[in-house]
């Protein structure tokens, strides 16, 4: 469906055959997860206790503690609550394992001590004999968990760094490249991105409460510049947008929420330019992302995301005279599809993930199309309103949290000069990071 464009036939065929190769590669890759099916319901190798917390305000006062992996009932585990002041154990009155509502497993334990815990003492919780789901024997070694007695003081002060999946979900991205060859002048490319999200309005929805979408202010930049004539057109994107995420409340719209989970609107100002900045457009763009409910199973999950939008603005600097007879006005629609293939049910990350994005720009006013000569100079091909398409497919193989092997394919035409990107392949190793705001875990 993605490739039913009205391009010249030879290009379309070329694109289809290329995509077929990519699809075949993906299909071949998908064999690996099914080969690993035997490991699918594996017993967790390193289960742990998580989030132990003394809750004196509950009746009765109890320690709640989570498990990293599900457990089935009944359980006959023995618990030990050690007071490090004196090293004595606190007698335990009762232990419960509340089931997740609507499920047959539990992910936590509620431990009621015989006497209240002292707020200035340090307690550790130990368990022996707990049997996790898919295991036949109790977990052998589980580290003791310190019981938090109060909210951490530094809960709002810590910034931590963690891996991001790709460029799109990174808060900062920095990828300088130097290309050189004997007898040629070196070329430089800088691909960088920074964004900061600040909430303007917290979301609120549900039965009997006023509906508020989530509204964020997301200032930043998205910049890719290069003096390499073989690189694709530059795009300088200044983000001055407001992002509005409108979730579909399941209780208010039960049927609609089974299909659409949210609509995300991302309006923003964009300055788009070719790689030599000879053609520059100032654009206001607004894209609406319709988030559809994903589908699939344990080994394969598909996330569709249709997009509609518009772009309007004017040409600030033209490569050739009279190529913009009117203001810029485009109606856009497209589709993003995310596909994840998992090696095994117990694995925390997908083995392969595929990102496919298609966008068609319908030009309501004429815009130019350029071709590029061997020296990288732009040659005007035509001025018209024919639709302009762009397709990108990315395949990632996750080596670990910070490193991924990637293969990418691109075909299409991008503004402002719409030089054809003709079956471009990219292979590489990606190192990614994301700036995250996360509370500390130090107990008071």
């Amino acid at each position: 469906m993605l490739f039913k464009s009205k391009r010249p036939r030879e290009h379309a065929q070329c694109g289809i055959s290329s995509i077929a190769r990519v699809a075949a590669f993906a299909l071949l890759s998908s064999m690996l997860p099914f080969a690993a099916r035997a490991q699918a319901n594996a017993c967790p190798s390193a289960p742990a206790l998580h989030g132990a917390l003394w809750q004196p305000y509950r009746s009765p006062a109890e320690v709640s503690v989570g498990f990293t992996d599900p457990i089935l009932l009944p359980q006959t585990a023995s618990w030990l609550l050690i007071d490090t002041k004196g090293g004595a154990s606190v007698p335990i009155k009762s232990v419960r394992y509340p089931l997740i509502t609507g499920q047959n497993y539990s992910l936590s334990a509620l431990i009621v001590p015989e006497r209240p815990l002292a707020i200035d003492h340090v307690y550790y919780l130990l368990v022996q004999g707990i049997i996790f789901e898919h295991c036949t024997t109790p977990a052998k070694t589980m580290s003791p968990a310190q019981v938090a007695m109060a909210r951490p003081k530094d809960a709002k002060q810590n910034f931590v760094l963690s891996a991001a999946k790709g460029r799109d979900d990174s808060d900062f991205y920095f990828a300088p490249t130097i290309d050189g060859a004997s007898g040629q002048k070196a070329s430089y490319t800088l691909d960088t991105k920074f964004q900061f999200r600040k909430s303007l309005l917290a979301p609120q929805f549900g039965k009997n409460v006023p509906y508020h979408p989530a509204i964020f202010f997301v200032p930043g930049w998205d910049l890719k510049v290069s003096n390499n004539p073989k690189q694709d057109g530059n795009s300088v994107k200044f983000l001055v947008p407001v992002e509005i995420a409108a979730p579909v409340a399941p209780t208010s719209f039960p049927r609609l929420s089974q299909v659409v989970t949210a609509i995300v609107s991302q309006p923003g100002f964009v300055a788009e330019a070719d790689k030599k900045f000879h053609d520059v457009n100032g654009i206001f763009a607004d894209y609406e992302y319709v988030l559809l409910h994903g589908f699939g199973g344990h080994y394969l999950w598909v996330s569709p995301q249709p997009t509609i939008g518009f772009e309007t603005g004017s040409n600030l600097k033209a490569q050739s005279a009279n190529t913009y007879p009117a203001s810029i006005l485009r109606a856009d629609f497209g589709m993003g599809v995310g596909l994840d293939l998992f090696q095994a049910k117990a694995k925390s990350k997908p083995l392969f993930s595929i990102d496919a994005n298609y966008i068609r720009r319908l030009l309501l006013n004429p815009e130019p199309t350029y071709t590029e000569d061997t020296k990288g100079n732009l040659q005007l091909k035509s001025v018209g309103t024919q639709p302009r398409d762009d397709v990108t497919v990315k395949i990632s193989y996750n080596v670990n949290s910070y490193v991924a092997l990637t293969a990418a394919y691109e075909y299409g035409e991008l503004p402002p000069v719409y030089t054809k990107i003709d079956n471009k392949y990219t292979f590489g190793v990606t190192f990614l990071g994301q700036m995250q705001y996360q509370p500390g875990t130090k107990a008071k």
């Binding site: 498990f67 600040k198 917290a202 979301p203 995420a245 925390s348």
Partner: protein, 151 residues
């Protein structure tokens, strides 16, 4: 260690000075006070409030059981799959492939009065879960919910 001295619940001198509180009598629409005495709150409204916002003390935190329930309820409703909750897994493992989908999940956790933190009478700021990305593990998300949610 000596037991901590507790602060008295109320100031007795002040109570004597002001005297016992008189029950407030709400006037009717026509301005006359009701002969039946003080207006009692509608029990149906009180019941609704109690189910929506369970009364909580100042520094209460969500328990591990409540956080697990929130994740189990919000993940499928925000577009993810119905797989069992395993805290070591990433959001991508539950079908949150795009950042927009993750933002939707955090909107459900923060804002859904029926399945998010609000169901337990807790509140999270709009920025509290901004760090979440497809590569974020559920344990990181659970930690943030437990530590940052306030009554």
């Amino acid at each position: 260690m000596p037991p901590k001295r507790r602060k008295p619940q109320s100031n007795p001198a002040r109570t004597r000075k002001t005297g016992p509180k008189k029950p407030k009598v709400k006037p009717n629409k026509d301005g006359r006070k009701s002969a039946k005495g003080p207006v009692r709150p509608d029990p149906s409204i009180a019941k609704k409030r109690s189910t929506r916002a369970i009364s909580v003390a100042a520094d209460e935190q969500l328990g591990a059981d409540q956080v697990a329930q929130i994740l189990a309820d919000c993940i499928p409703r925000a577009g993810g799959n119905n797989n069992e909750i395993v805290l070591t897994k990433t959001l991508q493992s539950y079908g949150f492939h795009f950042q927009n989908q993750v933002d939707t999940l955090t909107s459900f956790i923060i804002g859904d009065a029926d399945f998010g933190v609000r169901r337990y009478g807790f509140h999270l700021s709009g920025d509290a879960l901004n760090f979440a990305a497809p590569s974020t593990t559920l344990s990181d998300l659970a930690d943030a919910i437990q530590i940052k949610a306030t009554p």
